[in-house]
């Protein structure tokens, strides 16, 4: 059963160097994301990935088409949608002077919920940082904390915008495990990424965007079968990341 239905979604922006002309940041895309799947949106910078997510999250006005999440129209009832989604944005700064515990309690209050902050911090492996300030977290810890904040309302759909960009391989693998755990518990997850391995490992289905359009959509296996170039005659075993991880170990460095 589809939990997110997108029909002909369009976003126009004025051209940066000629304000009277406009271009389509998102050009009439249609999506159907199943409940309980991890859905990945791939594409080069400027392809329209973040704009698509921001329209679904209510951050950006929808210029054309419709989007519903769990049957609720995003454009007509944004506040109902906000109640059932969790969002992790690319920028993940918070009020500097509040501790993680205080921030989570604050986010709980924004949803008018009493939350078990310790439980949430435990879920993202940050229990020992409860009293720390966000500025003192490493990149991976910050991303995990962002996800904890996105989980305070126990959302049906979790949006992750480039969750592993800038993380070291250990932190990245750790975050993948977290995403898989959440998905196993039944959460639908929509993520954007530039990391092909991430898309291949995590996502049950992938959409590839370019110039505001979806140019391919399928399971990773089918996409490889249909579009991948012929493999080289004598393939190398593994890749540099395997080498890196074998040499430096899987232990988290945070």
């Amino acid at each position: 059963m589809a939990i997110i239905e997108v029909e002909n979604l369009t976003k126009k922006y004025p051209l940066p160097d000629n304000k009277s002309e406009s271009f389509f940041a998102v050009d009439g895309i249609s999506l159907s994301i199943e409940a309980g799947e991890i859905y990945g949106i791939l594409g080069p910078n400027g392809a329209g990935k973040t704009t698509t997510l921001e329209m679904l999250e209510g951050l950006t006005d929808i210029d054309g088409g419709t989007a519903t999440i769990d049957g609720i129209d995003v454009n007509n009832e944004p506040y109902k949608v906000k109640e059932i989604i969790g969002v992790q944005l690319q920028a993940n700064e918070y009020f500097d002077s509040l501790s993680l515990l205080e921030l989570l309690t604050l986010f709980g209050a924004l949803y008018s919920r009493e939350i078990d902050a310790d439980d949430l911090l435990g879920k993202v492996n940050l229990l020992d940082k409860a009293k720390a300030k966000p500025a003192n977290l490493s990149g991976g810890q910050k991303q995990r904390f962002s996800i904890a904040c996105a989980l305070v309302n126990n959302p049906k759909v979790l949006f992750l915008d480039e969750p592993t960009t800038g993380l070291d391989p250990q932190a990245k693998r750790n975050l993948w495990d977290l995403v898989i755990d959440l998905n196993n518990a039944g959460m639908t997850i929509v993520l954007t990424t530039h990391n092909m391995e991430e898309a291949e490992t995590l996502c049950q289905r992938i959409a590839i965007m370019d110039h505001g359009k979806i140019i391919a959509e399928d399971t990773p296996q089918n996409l490889i079968l249909q579009h991948a170039a012929e493999p080289p005659k004598a393939p190398l075993h593994g890749n540099i990341e395997d080498v890196f991880l074998t040499l430096t170990g899987h232990g988290l460095r945070d």
Binding site: E57, G58, L59, T60, D61, Y79, K82, E83, I85, V87, L89, Q90, A91, N92, E93, Y94, F95, S97, L98, E102, L106, F107, A109, L110, Y111, S112, C149, N153
Partner: protein
């Protein structure tokens, strides 16, 4: 009535503001330094006029005359040769030099006393001359045993002396609350936006009115705490007097803070970057420092500027606070000023609600 969420949020913002020790320190530090400096500068007596006397007469009368001048607290007398005193006059050590001729005696009529002055140095000569004339007349009366025809009995209807510091305090408090309020809403919003915090808040179900009321409540609490500390310091340490009703005084503080918080929200909505908010903020703040009668009365400004100066929001606030603090004015007696405050209250509130579009401010 504030909702549970608004109160929770207000407490969070209060916590955030209170943990910003540096800005709290500086917002208290400068007004305290300022008031302290003025308290000491103005605490001294009026400076005595330095007067040099050249006595060319040998009569008893002249000695007596000089003694009377020495006894007068208005003058600080130096007796000496004309040559030397002329030099001191040119140097600026003497304000004037009085030369008594050798014919100086009680019997003579119309004795000419020569007064040497350096007109270029003594700008307040017009003020000093009548004082000197008056002194000469009273000395003359004493010599000739004439009772003055008229005696001026001065009666202070204010029944108290006002120091500059008493005048300054309400204006300085109005100015401080403007600074704190504009920074508290405008500058903070731009900072929150720059960090992407507003965007993050936007994707939660928080309503913009919850966000704004929470900031208003938290900032109001901070302003009231800080001003109370400053006023307590002024009253208890510097002996500044507040004559009027404290409740009215604080009502003006609350209204003023609200107006400037609203203007701050307008500022934060228009200016998208930290640099822009500083620039636009200074456009709002700077003219008001000089034009709103904070440090000196609006009446002392050029006639042309006065009408503009009077309608600035800070003018109304500082005038109201000063009338209450210095003259013990009742709210009824400052009704026109209160009307001005009410008008600004409505203008700033309407502007803020129009300009603060949650989605645009957050993005």
């Amino acid at each position: 009535m504030p909702t549970k969420l608004q109160i929770h949020l207000a407490r969070v913002f209060l916590k955030i503001f209170l943990r910003d020790r540096q800005s709290i320190f500086f917002s208290l530090f400068f007004p305290i330094i300022f008031m302290t400096v003025f308290a000491f500068v103005n605490s001294g007596q009026q400076n005595a006029i330095n007067i040099g006397i050249v006595n060319n007469s040998s009569s008893d009368t002249s000695v007596e005359f000089v003694q009377l001048l020495i006894d007068d607290p208005l003058f600080s007398v130096t007796i000496g040769e004309e040559e030397r005193l002329r030099g001191e006059l040119v140097e600026g050590d003497q304000t004037m030099v009085l030369v008594l001729p050798d014919s100086f005696s009680a019997q003579s009529d119309g004795t000419e006393l020569r007064l040497l002055v350096d007109a270029a140095q003594v700008r307040q000569l017009d003020l000093i001359m009548p004082v000197l004339q008056q002194t000469l007349i009273s000395i003359e009366r004493e010599f000739r045993n004439i009772e003055p025809m008229f005696v001026l009995a001065m009666e202070d209807v204010q029944a108290r002396s006002q120091r500059y510091l008493d005048f300054l305090l309400p204006g300085l408090m109005a100015f401080t609350l403007m600074q704190l309020a504009i920074a508290g809403s405008g500058f903070n919003i731009v900072e929150f936006r720059r960090k992407g915090i507003l965007k993050r808040l936007f994707v939660t179900p928080i309503q913009p009115r919850d966000f704004i009321s929470a900031i208003v409540m938290a900032r109001m609490a901070i302003v009231l705490i800080q001003l109370t500390v400053l006023i307590a310091f002024a009253v208890f340490m510097l002996d500044v007097r507040i004559i009027g009703n404290f409740a009215s005084f604080y009502l003006m503080i609350i209204l003023g803070t609200f107006i400037f918080l609203c203007l701050g929200f307008c500022l934060g909505s228009i200016a998208k970057t930290q640099q822009a908010v500083m620039a636009v903020g200074n456009i709002i703040i700077f003219p008001q420092i000089f034009l709103s009668g904070v440090f000196y009365p609006i009446e002392s400004m050029p006639e042309l500027i006065q009408p503009i100066a009077r309608v600035l929001p800070l003018s109304f606030i500082s005038t109201a606070m000063r009338e209450i603090a210095n003259n013990g004015a009742s709210l009824m007696s400052i009704a026109p000023t209160l009307l001005g405050i009410a008008v600004w209250f409505v203008i700033s509130f309407v502007l803020a609600t129009r300009l603060f579009v949650w989605k645009e401010v957050a993005n």
